[in-house]
């Protein structure tokens, strides 16, 4: 070895802190929770399925079917752009850590990706929100429906994991076969990834700046979306992992991470709603009801369940899919495609007739503080998180519910 290893300087070390190793999930989740509070303070909380649905509507608008001529162009849709920049942020994170590569899986995996993505679209349409809107933002929004959605998510995930295990046992060839890997950044020759990462980062700021004149909120959504993608990629933040791993390897780190993010958001969201922060020209009541969707009971239950099945089969929740797209995992490209194409179809044709036949009560108020008061609702949501924590930690130790 003749090559001298140079000791990195102060800035070099700072760079390594962020991009040499993965971050613990809880660190990523706490930052994501904080950014989520910031999004809420500026406008409304984090969500992913709405943005993906916007892309889908624009795809069909382009093709000219389903009568979607009036769909909001993605360039003016806050959540459409948030999702675009989430992918770009993850792309930046993957490049700066030289983890980007086009990873093409065996055929069977691509099929599972597409089907899983389609099921997520269906579940998100039923549940009026995905793993983010009706869970990671919905629970802190003190929504009763979000708790039902979460229970559905949990059951769907466990069942789909059972399916995956069965498939691996009976049809191991489905998830094996020819795979390809392009453009990886291993070794010195991979340094182009770091340069490209910086370029894309700078371009993102330029685009955000261009919006800042006419649409200040959009400028913020672009920057926050980009950071959300970058942080998710570095910390491998994934809702599926949080729900699935205790039942698979028994690991609790992913779950505890997500819980940390939830707890931060519960504090922030409750404060925003309690004090009516950022009410602007809307009523205090409208601010309170932000991200409290009319999906109690059946819509949330069915939505959570179907979404749970989908995200486990795809191997990424809504956000997990988006950031893995940015990292170059082609299975999740298939999942995103399924999500994009099926979402508008679910919204227009599949879900409405079923929802109309479901028993529902419009009298039922879905906002927990209406029943429990703010202290009660706040304590109740934290208590649910605590129960979940005790369960995954106990299970990690005993392996009582884990498959391996």
């Amino acid at each position: 070895m003749s090559e001298k290893t140079k000791e990195p300087g102060v800035l070099g070390n700072l760079f390594k802190t962020f991009f040499a190793k993965h971050w613990p999930v809880w660190v990523g989740a706490i930052v994501l929770g904080t950014l989520n509070i910031l999004l809420f303070a500026i406008k409304s909380p984090w969500g992913a399925s709405g943005g993906i649905n916007n892309w889908g509507e624009n795809v069909f608008k382009l093709i000219g079917i389903f009568g979607l001529e009036n769909a909001t162009p993605t360039s003016t849709s806050l959540y459409g752009m948030l999702c675009v920049f989430l992918i770009i942020g993850s792309f930046i994170g993957a490049l700066l850590s030289k983890e980007f590569a086009l990873r093409i899986p065996p055929k069977g995996e691509l099929i599972k990706g597409f089907i899983g993505g389609g099921m997520m679209a269906l579940g998100a349409t039923f549940g009026i929100g995905c793993s983010i809107g009706s869970f990671f933002s919905g629970m802190p929004a003190l929504s009763g429906g979000a708790i039902i959605f979460t229970i559905g998510l949990f059951i769907g995930t466990v069942l789909a994991l059972k399916y995956l295990m069965w498939e691996m046992e009976k049809f191991p060839n489905f998830s094996s076969g020819k795979s390809y890997n392009f453009l990886s950044g291993t070794g010195k020759s991979g340094s182009w990834q770091i340069y490209l990462g910086w370029i894309v980062l700078i371009v993102t700021f330029i685009i955000a700046y261009q919006y800042s004149g006419g649409n200040k909120i959009m400028a913020w959504f672009i920057i926050i979306g980009m950071f959300m993608g970058l942080i998710s990629q570095r910390s491998r933040f994934c809702i599926v992992k949080a729900f699935r791993d205790p039942f698979m390897t028994g690991e609790a780190d992913g779950s505890v991470g997500v819980m940390a993010g939830l707890v931060i958001s519960v504090f922030g969201f409750t404060a925003i709603k309690y004090f009516g922060i950022g009410v602007g020209d809307i009523a205090v009541r409208a601010r309170e009801m932000t991200w409290v969707f009319p999906h109690f009971f059946f819509r949330a239950a069915i939505g959570g369940f179907v979404f749970g099945l989908g995200m486990t089969i795809a191997g990424g929740c809504a956000v997990g899919t988006l950031w893995r797209v940015g990292e170059g995992q082609v299975k999740l490209w298939a999942s995103a495609l399924g999500f994009i194409l099926i979402s508008p179809i679910s919204k227009l044709y599949i879900v409405p007739p079923i929802v109309n036949s479901l028993p529902q009560s419009l009298d039922f108020k879905n906002y927990l503080p209406d029943y429990l008061g703010y202290p009660g609702a706040f304590g109740f949501v934290l208590f649910i998180i605590l129960v979940w924590y005790v369960f995954v930690k106990w299970n990690e130790k005993t392996g009582r519910f884990s498959a391996f």
Binding site: R103, T186, K241, E251
Partner: protein
């Protein structure tokens, strides 16, 4: 000293959770002291696998990166 490899598990192209599921299953089939070589391309494995080894008591003998973005791990069953 070169480690004697008892089984190789190819997880190239697979993404979460397939590599960890296949790994856990393959490890079940090994006898104590036997060594599994795993190759894959999912960056998630880089942090998932060491953590799993630590918790399950299996020993990670080697971890490295080959050309073309392929990760390679050697794990000894406890």
């Amino acid at each position: 000293m070169e480690n004697k490899i008892d089984q190789t598990l190819d997880c190239k192209g697979l993404s979460c959770p397939m590599p960890m599921m296949k790994l856990a299953k393959a490890m079940k089939g090994l006898k104590s002291g036997e060594i599994l070589e795993m190759i894959g391309t999912d960056p998630g494995t880089k942090s998932d696998l060491p953590r799993w080894c630590e918790k399950s008591g299996n020993e990670m003998l080697e971890k490295g990166e080959l050309d073309g973005g392929i990760f390679r791990f050697l794990i000894k069953k406890k």
